[in-house]
């Protein structure tokens, strides 16, 4: 299979940037080699869909707004009623989901080539993301594993909290380079490392 090209291109410059002399506030990297699948349940089939996602991924969810779970490279989170992003490093993910999700439960759309995933981690990650998105990033409001759908200007983003100081930001591939540049500017103040 052809190697997918990152849309970040020449903008992705590994190394230390910004005010790094005072310490590294955040580390940025692009997560590659993922399968990113959007699963949408018919409104009456949400509990059955969550069971199906659980059997395909091992990550079972309750039916509550924005809930999600993370286990290594695998993650699942809700970002709208009955809508979930299911992510895994295995290319078999879509096949596995299709084997347990019949059309009477809902729909499956492979977004692998339509999204870019940027992982931001480090002690200042909440601070940097708070500059860009008008949502509460503190852990009591945004628990580990949970997801959000929000905007930075007109760039739509899905955000999942991975741990106390790590977030994954899913942006449209065609906006990814612009968003990456903006994220870099926001992180300059605290010093950032690109891996």
């Amino acid at each position: 299979m052809a190697e997918p090209q990152s849309p970040l291109g020449a903008s992705y410059v590994p190394g230390d940037h910004g005010n790094a002399a005072a310490g590294i506030g955040v580390t940025l990297r692009e997560r590659k080699g993922l399968s990113i699948i959007q699963v949408t349940a018919w409104s009456e089939a949400i509990p059955a869909m969550l069971t199906a996602i659980g059997s395909a991924t091992g990550l079972a969810l309750q039916n509550k707004p924005g809930l999600g779970r993370v286990a290594g490279e695998k993650s699942v989170f809700g970002f709208a009623p009955g809508r979930y992003l299911v992510v895994s490093a295995t290319p078999e993910l879509e096949t596995r989901l299709r084997s347990v999700i019949a059309p009477d439960l809902g729909t499956i759309i492979d977004l692998t080539h339509g999204r870019t995933v940027i992982r931001i981690s480090g002690p200042r990650s909440e601070w940097v993301l708070s500059k860009l998105f008008a949502i509460d990033f503190s852990e009591h409001a945004f628990a580990i594993g949970n997801g959000r759908a929000t905007l930075h200007h007109d760039i739509h983003a899905n955000i999942q909290r991975i741990d106390d100081e790590t977030f994954d930001v899913y942006v449209f591939r065609t906006f990814a380079r612009s968003f990456w540049a903006t994220l870099g500017h926001a992180a300059e103040e605290v010093g950032y490392r690109v891996e």
Partner: protein, 95 residues
């Protein structure tokens, strides 16, 4: 203005798109009553005070909402999913 989305929680108005008056009711599709269609398309009461209106949470969960808002003060008294409001109206309950 902050709108408390039933799914996403409180979000800035910049994430939402106003979609018009939620109090008007569409005539039956087969209706030939031109006055009723004209009123549906053009007539708006433009009240002061509490008003029911459609908003789309385009920058979040992308759900259509029915927001009850005081247009004088911007105080919001209720936000529900539009589909729930439609079901409530159909069954005769107050939304």
């Amino acid at each position: 203005m902050i709108i408390k989305c039933p799914y996403c929680g409180p979000r800035d108005v910049i994430e939402f798109i106003y979609q018009g008056d939620a109090t008007r009711s569409r005539p039956e599709p087969a209706s030939n009553d031109m006055a009723a269609w004209n009123a549906y398309v053009y007539d708006r009461a433009n009240p002061s005070g509490s008003h029911r209106e459609y908003w789309l949470h385009s920058g979040g969960c992308r759900q259509h909402l029915v927001v009850t808002r005081d247009v004088s003060t911007h105080a919001i008294s209720s936000v529900v999913f539009a589909r729930d409001a439609a079901v409530a109206v159909k069954s005769g309950e107050p939304a």
